[in-house]
Symmetry: C2
Subunit: 469 residues, 2 copies
């Protein structure tokens, strides 16, 4: 059954007039022969994406390398792998853009346990170190646990937390429709928790893992330090153990925990953005960038964040190439390194984009997982937005339902003077269950969901290439 083709037969004149105008407006924007041609091309793209599943096949190879933390050996392997794949695809140019990236290493020890308690002595607490955190001494850090719900509460603690372990325990709000909003409302504890706790003399912090699921697999992510504020260790505690600990210290306020971590930062190392392009046949100097970040956290294998989305953008070019569709303008795939803990790849490409003689027409970022397509969120002027919205019936072939004004992504956001910056928006209901965790693995990605994203990005970049803005 086709649920998409439905023009109501109207019986009231105002409705009829309105709908006629709307249809006419859309028709004015693209002549019927072009619409037909684009629909045919979009149909071929979707079919090829779903049947060939090339991106999904690549994802299996990429995930077999392992996670791709910036500056790690795995990330170097993955960069070589991607460059080779782009060359094998026959993209017109393929190159590496050097980027200096931070190098943080988790080490082998990240553990916590209850070290003073009548009831729970030696009970293990599941933690993962946050990216960028310093480690503890070999003996670890032991102390009483001070539970708080947020940064403001810490600021008001005075001397109470001196030498102790601050436990941020404000939960992810699962009552919100948009899980990115839930994430945004909880993640300040992870990012700035150590700074605020250190200011009042705390010895370390643990933060309730920022995630929508309820399990014992804590999610990592970046945390920050501030100049002139003493650096203290910072780790996520699983949500199940967070609930346990919260109850335990209610009955035993003097309970102590011990944390041991041997993570460490090293000097910056050289890494690369991986870049490949289909050079435009008519306006090669006008560039549409598609991409995601190729680094990941070092838990799971960064399948949804951001392996599969990166490969969607590579496959978008590959789909056009495979189907012998030659774009008028240049479509360039950029796999940005180091979004997770530095954004250095995005910044470096941004510098290039501002000094090059190219015209930065558009940037499309895929960094919200590889779930079923919903829409595109776009930063642009109203006329360009209207123009893109007129393409919706074509994009709908890849299940794109809407194009709204909104943010794009951290990496393409660094491209200067772009006419439009777009974020590809898949469904987000399951993303925060696995983001930055051991659950973010190959089998968590569904081939059809992933490849519809490849198709959506291919169609959007092709329409931008043909129609401009």
């Amino acid at each position: 059954m086709n649920q998409k083709i439905n023009l109501p037969l109207l019986t009231i004149s105002t409705f009829t007039i309105l709908f006629s105008m709307e249809i006419k407006l859309q028709a004015q924007q693209l002549p019927p022969d072009k619409i037909q041609n684009y629909n045919e091309i979009a149909g071929k793209i979707v079919r090829s994406a779903l049947l060939d599943k090339k991106g999904y096949e690549w994802l299996n190879e990429l995930c077999s390398i392992g996670p791709r933390l910036s500056g790690s050996e795995n990330s170097s392997k993955a960069i070589s792998w991607a460059k080779n794949k782009m060359s094998e695809c026959g993209f017109d140019s393929v190159w590496l853009q050097p980027v200096m990236v931070p190098k943080w290493v988790r080490g082998k020890i990240e553990k916590a346990y209850i070290s003073k308690s009548k009831k729970y002595l030696n009970k293990k607490i599941t933690i993962v170190s946050y990216g960028g955190s310093i480690g503890t001494s070999k003996a670890g850090i032991s102390g009483q646990v001070i539970e708080v719900r947020g940064l403001d509460e810490v600021k008001n603690l005075g001397d109470k937390a001196k030498g102790k372990i601050v436990f941020y325990n404000r939960p992810f709000d699962n009552g919100l429709l948009n899980t990115f909003e839930g994430y945004g409302k909880a993640v300040d504890q992870r990012i700035n928790g150590a700074i605020e706790a250190s200011k009042i003399g705390a010895a370390a912090v643990i933060v309730r893992s920022v995630q929508s699921s309820y399990d014992n697999i804590p999610h990592t992510g970046v945390m920050l330090y501030e100049d002139n504020v003493k650096q203290i260790p910072s780790a996520a505690i699983s949500v199940i153990d967070a609930d346990f600990l919260s109850k335990a210290i209610q009955s035993e306020p003097n309970l102590n925990i011990t944390i041991k971590m041997d993570c460490k930062s090293f000097p910056d190392v050289e890494s690369y953005n991986v870049i490949g392009q289909l050079t435009g046949g008519e306006k090669p100097n006008e560039v549409i960038v598609v991409g995601g970040h190729f680094d990941s956290w070092d838990k799971g294998c960064g399948a949804h964040d951001d392996g599969a989305p990166c490969l969607q953008t590579m496959e978008a070019l590959n789909l056009l190439k495979r189907l012998n569709i030659k774009p008028k303008r240049t479509i360039r795939c950029v796999l940005f390194i180091n979004e997770e803990n530095g954004l250095r790849g995005g910044i470096e490409y941004g510098k290039f984009s501002s000094t090059s003689s190219e015209i930065n027409l558009a940037g499309i970022e895929s960094d919200r997982g590889a779930f079923t397509p919903r829409g595109f969120s776009v930063t642009t002027d109203s006329l360009s937005l209207m123009k893109m919205q007129s393409w919706l019936p074509i994009l709908n072939k890849a299940d794109i339902e809407w194009i709204h004004k909104g943010g794009s992504g951290c990496d393409v956001g660094q491209i200067k003077n772009a006419k439009a910056l777009l974020g590809y928006v898949p469904d987000d209901q399951r993303y925060m269950d696995l983001h930055h965790s051991d659950n973010d693995i190959y089998t968590a990605v569904h081939p059809r969901e992933m490849e519809l994203g490849s198709a959506a990005i291919a169609i959007m970049s092709y329409l931008l290439s043909e129609e401009g803005l």
Copy 2:
């Protein structure tokens, strides 16, 4: 980030006029205070659905009973369970509507193996009997395998398949966007395959499992016989084994397989539709039915098909009850029995609906899995459709993106003279991986995806109750 609030600031007069008209039109349909009130209620419904996860909690209980094939002991247990739950929820009326249903029992034996071959002797072939099929003798049915791509090809086989086993091997088309369309284009082999093969004298049929995934878990489903055509056994073969068998008979055309099945049909037994309602405060005689089919196949536990969707409709009423929202019109949850292999529950309720003095305002069916919401597909007149479409901004709080003309569902489709019949449409990309198979279990359902559906159905049924059609 909120990706949904975007009214473009237009600079061209025709666009401005058009958009102003559109906005005005929507505003005319519901006054601002009503919109605000409905938005507040919808917000509460979504929040309560996502946080309480009552439907998902119920699903765990329901799945622990096991699958619920019509006429089985499990289905009786599940019916009692649901009636008790509705009573516990405090619905205004709860009752059982008797329905005579077919009783088919899979038995304990369903196996196949290669019984004559140089290379593959005794290799196991994974099959599952189709619902309604007769069994084989104890010795089984052995024969050469005749591979075909569809019913037409069988009609042209002449005597070639006499006494042999016809193997329908036309694959599911994974190149289509809509997996229900892929299913629809392959399922005739399962439904009518035995009839056509029997007409040319075949001894049995095996059918490539109708599914979007590639694994060794075949999917069951209903098959039909025709009066005056000899009944022959019919089973699904897993897609992996179908590919194996196809290759094997290319190299060894005389290869034989043996099939043994002890499934069997019994006389009809009494079963029930489970019905509960919130009686309308102002127009109790006008009824909005929400429901799904409570029977399932006997593989997995019928979590997506159709346990979770049934519980979404139960939770829709429960959400209104929990939030103390009293509908003007009656909202009735009907859990129809025997959709899978008879539609008897739907037909029985249809009879009631045509003889009762009630006004059948609307029926909403949830029978497409419990994945993330996309829209509602509606059979109604154009004005009613426009009216419902004007509610989209409210329904969007539960991630509903569209309301289109289209089919509703088999069960509510039996309701006579309804002003509108709606199908709740969640995303379908993963559904045909698990439908009618051992993969359709509790853990395949995601709580947020499921409960957004509960919320969407609650909001739609409430708006229908308040605004009528």
